[in-house]
Point group: C2
């Protein structure tokens, strides 16, 4: 017998039929003898409607009132699912964030969970009652309703699993697991049975958006075993776990890509100490997230500095750089938004040499030019011209032996 | 400077434009220097949708979950109205039943308010903040969300006005006040400037459904001055107050009618002590509400017993009577659903003789036969054939001098 947290997103509870289907799935786990808590999102479309109303009344609305309005979406789902469960003979009750309580900080609209008091829920789950919990919400130190921000329901589920000391947190979604790469690009992509938190974070942050990044970080810190699986198909999903749980570590687990980056090159920057700090300090102050950074060998006392930022941050970055030009003294700013970042990710890299070399060789064989390279312990990323995205992903997927038989 | 509770029903907050209009009206009261709390219902249509979902999932759904689902309607309105108020420069915040708290009993779906802790709201209102409060809901002794049942928002507003020691409770609705009778029947009906709680109760319970009966009873017990006025027209409404506040008491304030009653006659009931108790005791046990009762003079040791019940209760009443027949021993049960109750209401009756005589004369002049008569301290009611309803109401309106000039 295990204790399981199940989490269902908006499309999984979009209408009464789907809520009934969720109830049936919960019943199956309960009938198998497990203790079950369920975390639900708002019925899909609901949150958008509520947000639109707030924005129509005031573009700069009070985030505390926004939270009071938007949190109703999850509340409706919890009550309806509890009713649907009772209707098929499963004892259940709804829990709002303030009832448990799920304590958060005061950052309305993007609150962080501070603590969850799980004792009462555990007592009831042990007595056979399913706890149906509103995701995405909590209560602030001053007793106001808070929301965690978009995608926060994943985080709610993981945090609840940690508080309840659950054996597993099952995240039901519209994909049926984590794949070696985007199956729309590589039809031979394989579903991974297991993946480590670190790999999941690297894959998520470079574009494979299955789980919200915050929820994976939390799962890693709290050692919550997470399973990603489909709410529509009845198939095993992908287990996201501690690296220790993965016996046969793949050298490379997956290939990710992102077209959300822009490349900036500062030409002929004076090559003296403190220049990098002089550039990236002010960018950080403007909340511009810098990702890859490359500095060439100096010649004639100057160097070229290349880095990438999120496309959405580009105008802000360029304005900051123009303001810096007098004191830094670079010759020119070049930008390129027609780029893609391709990453190979795998915890096995730590003990395997030659991963980067394989990547460069595979790309060279397809005559794909590498513009920027960056590496981390479990990832190698390259920036290439955007038009090569699919070709690069396919070549790498084959090169690392990831294609399904 | 006064302290005012304003209450807006579902049609008054049906969409964003109407919510903005409500905000403007609240601002006017606040700008006039008043301390203001606003009680709101769900946007019209919302509650019906939520109720329909609960019923579709389970006809016999858990009332605690029903309450969790349905109470979200008011929560949305409070947040949106708070945002709309802030947008026009009025300091405001939303309050849910559990936040104030509005304590109720455990009778989910039809809970009664036990206590409201008003101190914090008063402190904030005195500091200039408008309190936007969810009507229709509260929190149970076990911390679950409760709802007061349909029309409960009027009761919430009056209870809040009592807790806040408000000078007035303004109920905004789709009619602009209380009339001497239904203006659809008598175009010369006049709007009353003032009416006593007792009169309002008699008028409400016999069909002039402007305020929920429970809210008027509560206002009477707590001495809350209630004003009924239109949320669409900018006109003075009708003030519902203690009889003492009405200097010039009308002998008759209004004429009410109801077609919701059914007449039952038990023919040739044995005329012996205990028969009435033997009939009406079991009916009360079946939750059948008996209204008018008439017993004829006995002849041959038997009598006829006539009374009225709500039309909806008729089948239950007849079943109960059939079960009683062996022990009571009446000859026959006759029913008539084609009847209307016409009532003249006025606190001035207490000190004026001849009110009933005027009624009987006016009806006789139109050849309307009276089937049953019942009287109370401030009301005379008669049962007539349903087809005479409008004729009777018009004749009485004229007979008591209520027609507008």
């Amino acid at each position: 017998m295990s204790r399981i947290v199940m989490k269902f997103g908006g499309t999984s509870v979009a209408d009464l039929d789907r809520i009934r289907a969720v109830a049936a799935r919960v019943k199956r786990e309960r009938d198998a003898g497990h203790e079950v808590a369920v975390v639900v999102s708002a019925m899909s479309g609901t949150t958008n409607q509520l947000v639109a109303w707030c924005q129509a009344l005031s573009p700069l609305h009070d985030a505390r009132e926004y939270d009071a309005v938007v949190a109703t979406g999850e509340q409706v789902t919890t009550g309806l699912l509890a009713i649907a469960l009772q209707e098929i003979g499963v004892e259940a009750r709804s829990w709002q964030g303030w009832q448990i309580p799920i304590r958060t900080d005061n950052a309305h609209g993007k609150a962080r969970i501070a603590a969850i008091e799980g004792a009462e829920l555990i007592r009831r789950m042990q007595a056979g009652q399913v706890a149906v919990v509103s995701g995405f919400q909590g209560i602030s130190p001053t007793g106001r309703i808070t929301t965690l921000g978009r995608g926060g329901s994943d985080t709610s589920a993981v945090a609840l699993a940690a508080a309840l000391k659950a054996d597993r947190c099952d995240i039901y979604t519209d994909v049926d697991g984590v794949y070696t790469t985007d199956p729309r690009i590589v039809p031979k992509a394989r579903k991974l049975a297991k993946i480590s938190y670190e790999e999941m974070l690297e894959l998520a942050s470079v574009g494979a958006k299955v789980l919200q990044t915050r929820s994976v970080e939390l799962a890693m810190n709290e050692h919550v075993r997470v399973q990603v699986l489909s709410s529509f198909a009845d198939l095993p999903g992908t287990l996201v776990v501690d690296e220790d749980e993965i016996v046969e570590k793949e050298t490379v687990s997956g290939i990710a890509y992102s077209r959300d980056e822009a490349k900036i090159t500062l030409r002929r920057v004076p090559d003296r100490p403190g220049v990098a700090a002089g550039v990236f300090g002010p960018l950080a102050q403007q909340a511009v997230n810098v990702d890859m950074i490359v500095q060439n060998i100096a010649a004639d006392g100057t160097t070229d500095l290349t880095f990438t930022v999120g496309k959405a941050d580009l105008p802000r970055a360029l304005a900051a750089l123009e303001a810096l030009r007098p004191q830094i003294g670079f010759a020119e700013v070049q930008t390129d938004t027609d780029v893609a970042k391709i990453s190979v990710v795998g915890v096995g890299m730590r003990s395997h040499a030659g991963v980067a070399a394989t990547m460069f060789r595979a790309l060279a064989d397809k005559a794909i030019n590498i513009e920027v390279i960056s590496t981390s312990e479990i990832k190698v990323s390259v920036l290439v011209a955007s038009e090569y995205t699919e070709l690069a992903v396919r070549a790498l997927h084959t090169a690392y032996g990831l294609d399904a038989a």
